[in-house]
């Protein structure tokens, strides 16, 4: 074999390498997969015995496992606590756990399995918007229930999903209100290049436009991007009052390290993040984020007996070094909300629960949350927090009262034309 031929073979092999690399990089972000055709609207849920089955569907493997495992842990804690206090409508919860494997199609498949072969009364889980969108037709087709515990980009209200995380008007808009109140006159938007940051930034720009805040720049980095020197240079040159960060995953680490290396700090230009919770601080490095701001509805440091009990129970079950975060708390609350709905309806049937849902409230670790029967979101209090030297987040500002969910931003004049 001549040297030239060897080289050609090597080059074609390299092409294979790259394709393989791109394919594996793309795995986590597949969107728009649709579920298997769901067969019937009639449910097979067995309510005759003294136990009732529910499904937990989280990614226990793959790239999202790092986040979703924590949600699974807090769901298990909630189920255990409900069972030890007598169950729901006198029935013990029997949990069926499935692994979504960080793959939207798997979520749809496993959701179908939980509904039609395990016959669960409700499913709790999902994290990425892609996984939720993939499961939606499955739950609507089978007329079953999904409780989704993560903040998301809004613009959705399925009759078969309850959204227990924040929608945009309970997280992003309060963060903007806070910045405006602090006298911030200009913003720089940095986000990962996919649907959530782009949708969120559209809303931020409309808000800024209506409130006299100047947008100095808008930059997107591909998911998993590792070199932020150019983006940070742009941020530095623009000299905005604050940075609004919708980066997701590992990119946050590279971004915050670069931010600090470039000589920027919370004192000169604070960064408000919507995807960094207590879990993530350790991986980013406390030195790199201390003093930066976050927007959520729950922090481990919330000072209430209910939260103290939650944190203590969680640590007792999973270890003292574990922390609790917003999505974990929203998942924990979702199980208790479902319990309250079922008890109000005196039934496990989807239609009965849906009818009973409006106004059901639960005294959650984050404070009292109330279900909105019309859009299936819940009223939550918004909290702007600051990362403290103890690697926990401390609330700096609160919306005071729970904010009514408005996933389509219908009550905001400036948002007209955004949501159609």
């Amino acid at each position: 074999m001549s040297m030239r031929r060897t080289r050609k073979r090597l080059l074609s092999a390299v092409a294979v390498v790259m394709v393989a690399g791109l394919v594996s990089a793309g795995c986590g972000s597949r969107v728009g997969a649709s579920g298997p055709g769901s067969s019937s609207g009639s449910s097979c849920v067995d309510t005759s015995g003294n136990s009732i089955k529910i499904g937990f569907l989280n990614s226990l493997s793959g790239t999202m496992a790092i986040s979703e495992k924590t949600v699974h842990d807090s769901l298990m804690l909630a189920a255990e606590q409900i069972n030890s206090s007598g169950g729901v409508l006198g029935k013990q919860l029997q949990v069926v756990s499935e692994d979504g494997a960080s793959e939207p199609t798997t979520f749809a498949e496993k959701a179908g399995k939980l509904i039609s072969s395990d016959c669960v009364a409700a499913v709790f889980g999902g994290w990425t918007s892609a996984s939720r969108k993939a499961m939606l037709p499955v739950f609507e087709g089978a007329n079953s229930l999904l409780f989704y515990p993560v903040q998301y980009e809004g613009l959705e209200a399925s009759p078969n999903i309850f959204y227990t995380g924040a929608t945009t008007n309970q997280q992003i808009i309060p963060a903007l209100d806070y910045l405006k109140q602090k006298g911030v006159k200009s913003l720089f938007l940095v986000g990962s290049d996919y649907v959530f940051p782009r949708t969120a930034n559209k809303e931020i720009k409309a808000y800024a436009n209506a409130n006299g805040i100047e947008i100095k720049g808008e930059e997107y980095a591909p998911l998993g991007y590792t070199d932020f020197s150019t983006i940070v240079n742009k941020v530095k040159a623009a000299g905005a009052g604050a940075v609004f960060n919708t980066l997701n995953g590992d990119s946050n680490v590279a971004f915050f390290k670069e931010y600090r290396n470039a000589g920027l700090s919370p004192a000169t230009m604070p960064v408000v993040s919507v995807s960094i919770a207590e879990e993530e601080i350790g991986g980013i490095g406390l030195d790199n984020v201390v003093g930066q701001l976050t927007a959520w509805n729950y922090y481990q440091t919330i000072d209430s007996p209910k939260n103290a009990a939650f944190v203590q129970a969680f640590k007792a079950k999973y270890g003292q070094r574990r922390v609790t975060s917003d999505p974990m708390e929203a998942a924990y609350a979702s199980l208790f909300l479902w319990k309250a709905m079922a008890e109000k309806a005196k039934s496990f049937k989807t239609d009965d629960i849906r009818k009973a849902a409006d106004g059901v409230s639960y005294d959650a670790p984050e404070g009292t949350v109330t279900v909105n029967g019309e859009n299936h979101h819940i009223a939550k209090t918004a909290l702007i927090g600051k990362v403290g030297p103890d690697a926990l987040i401390h609330a700096e500002w609160s919306s005071g009262a729970p904010i009514q969910p408005d996933p389509f931003l219908r009550t905001y004049n400036w948002a007209r034309g955004l949501t159609g």
């Binding site: 930059e219 590792t226 590992d250 390290k257 991986g283």
Partner: protein, 294 residues
């Protein structure tokens, strides 16, 4: 003007990172023709070495300086192990090597997850590397300057070994004509193993350096493997100086495009430039001329 300088710094710095990630590959892929998909995981192993050493020695400065040789050792030993158990059986079968080493890379990622946990870990930067230095009118982050110097030292060290030392002469001999090298009494087995040790060790050093800039987690290596292959292919197989020029060229291109467009578009544009370049010069910037018939 300010922007020009700061982008120049960004581009050179990106180039030095690409170079560090690709230098080991320039040796194993470039010189030996082995497509090692697990090269990225050797980088990851270097990062975790820095993390473990920092657990033992709390001082971030001392532990970083100690992590560089130890990262080299850890990466190198993993490389030798891989070479001795698997790759050795697959010389001249590039596609098989590709698949097998990809499997190894997945296994190593999962191993890291099992040992260190799925969440990222934090490696603190020493205080003398956080912040930066003002050079004239622009600001150079100290960590990036450190990586640039480390990359320069690695290239200088590698060139020194290849040009002046007996081992280097043997490596070059085997690359240029394996059969003839064997006939004159060079043990190609030992040479292959040593080449792999140095190449993988350099990946370990890259891993240590990258803890200063990015996340340390099980998937760290996958972020760099494609870029590292690009650098070697563009630079030309079999030449270290090609990798150096390609790394800085690609770094500067990315920084320039990214400043005038966006990060995603810049990546696409760099890919397009590479494809066009390889159409014109499929052998890369430099290539080894050889009389070998094999």
């Amino acid at each position: 003007m300010q922007a020009l300088y700061s982008q120049l710094v960004a581009g050179i710095s990106l180039g030095s990172i690409l170079l560090l990630a690709a230098l080991g590959l320039a040796l194993t892929f470039g010189q030996m023709g082995v497509i090692n998909m697990a090269h990225g995981e050797f980088i990851m192993a270097g990062s975790y070495t820095a993390f473990v050493i920092q657990k033992v020695i709390a001082d971030a400065g001392i532990s970083l300086l100690l992590a560089i040789p130890l990262g080299f050792l850890v990466g190198g030993l993993m490389g030798v192990l891989l070479e001795a158990t698997l790759i050795r059986r697959m010389y001249h079968r590039p596609l098989d090597t590709l698949l097998v080493t990809w499997g190894v890379s997945l296994i190593l990622q999962q191993a890291a997850r099992d040992i260190f946990g799925a969440p990222n870990v934090d490696v603190r930067a020493p205080s003398w590397l956080s912040g930066g230095i003002d050079v004239g009118i622009t600001h150079v982050p100290a960590a990036r300057l450190f990586i640039l110097m480390l990359a320069a030292a690695a290239v200088a060290g590698l060139s020194l070994v290849l040009k002046t030392m007996p081992l280097g002469r043997r490596i070059r001999g085997v690359v240029q004509n394996r059969d003839l090298a064997e006939t004159v009494g060079i043990s190609t087995r030992n040479t292959d193993r040593l080449t792999f040790f140095i190449g993988s060790g350099l990946a370990g050093i890259a891993g240590v350096a990258l803890t200063l800039l990015g996340s340390t987690g099980p998937t760290l290596g996958t972020s760099y493997i494609v870029d590292a292959f690009l650098v070697v292919v563009v630079g030309g197989i079999g030449q270290i100086k090609g990798a150096v020029i390609a790394a800085f060229g690609l770094g500067l291109l990315q920084a320039t495009f990214e400043y005038s467009t966006t990060a995603s578009i810049a990546k696409v544009m760099v890919f397009v430039v590479i494809v066009v370049f390889l159409q014109i010069r499929p052998q890369g910037i430099f290539s080894v001329r050889t009389r070998s018939l094999a």
